[in-house]
Symmetry: C2
Subunit: 134 residues, 2 copies
């Protein structure tokens, strides 16, 4: 598997944990060796693993949290760090996200996530099926 594919696989794991509301899987996605950061849409910055995990547990436990689909993810590998830019489709709304990963114990783990509103969604050529989710 190429490094880009490995990073996109880690990115998929994040959205799969999100979609399946699986807090254990979400725990596995995020790095443990450094303080992580997360900016949920419209929230303030959450810093540190404990706070970030608490924020995800609240989101995943909320039955009214919307379903998210990741589309048009592109991975940019910069040695032992990588970032993914992708769209998040939530019902009929679109967000755009930056997901930063680092290599930790041989795996790509998330260190930072920011999602925010975008004026446009995925390009018209997108047929509506998720690009990277199985």
């Amino acid at each position: 598997m190429s490094e880009q594919a490995a990073v996109l696989f880690a990115n998929d794991a994040f959205y799969l944990a999100f979609t399946t509301r699986d807090p254990d899987a979400m725990e596995d996605v995020w790095a443990r060796s450094i303080p992580v950061t997360c900016i949920h849409p419209g929230w303030n910055v959450v810093t540190g693993r404990e706070g970030v995990m608490e924020s995800w547990r609240a989101i995943l436990a909320n039955p009214e949290s919307p379903q998210v689909t990741c589309r048009q993810a592109t991975a940019h590998v910069l040695g032992d760090v990588a970032y993914v830019v992708c769209f998040e489709t939530i019902e009929k709304n679109h967000l755009v996200a930056t997901n930063v990963f680092m290599r930790e114990d041989g795996a790509w783990r998330m260190v930072h996530h920011q999602a925010g509103i975008t004026a446009q969604g995925p390009s018209e050529s997108d047929d509506g099926t998720p690009d990277r989710m199985q």
Copy 2:
């Protein structure tokens, strides 16, 4: 200068180029060796140096573009890559930004920028003066 300070210095250079509407300085901020990416608030993703520079030239040339102040920047150094999370104050509105840098030719250069709306701005303890701009 610590690596964190060096990254924050590069982050300052970005906001200084933005504030002074200096396209040449903005050119210097961004990496040349890899395709860069940029998500302006409410825009779609801009990919590649040419497109990103074109977007900045349009923003910097527009006399109606608002003034931006960077506040509460924190740098996270991950070897030869780093990311900064900071607030951008634009008039009375607040955005939150992720700025990714990589080491290129001995300098920290920007490879990715995302700014988006945040519900809250900098913490109350912020005295209103820019943290990192001189």
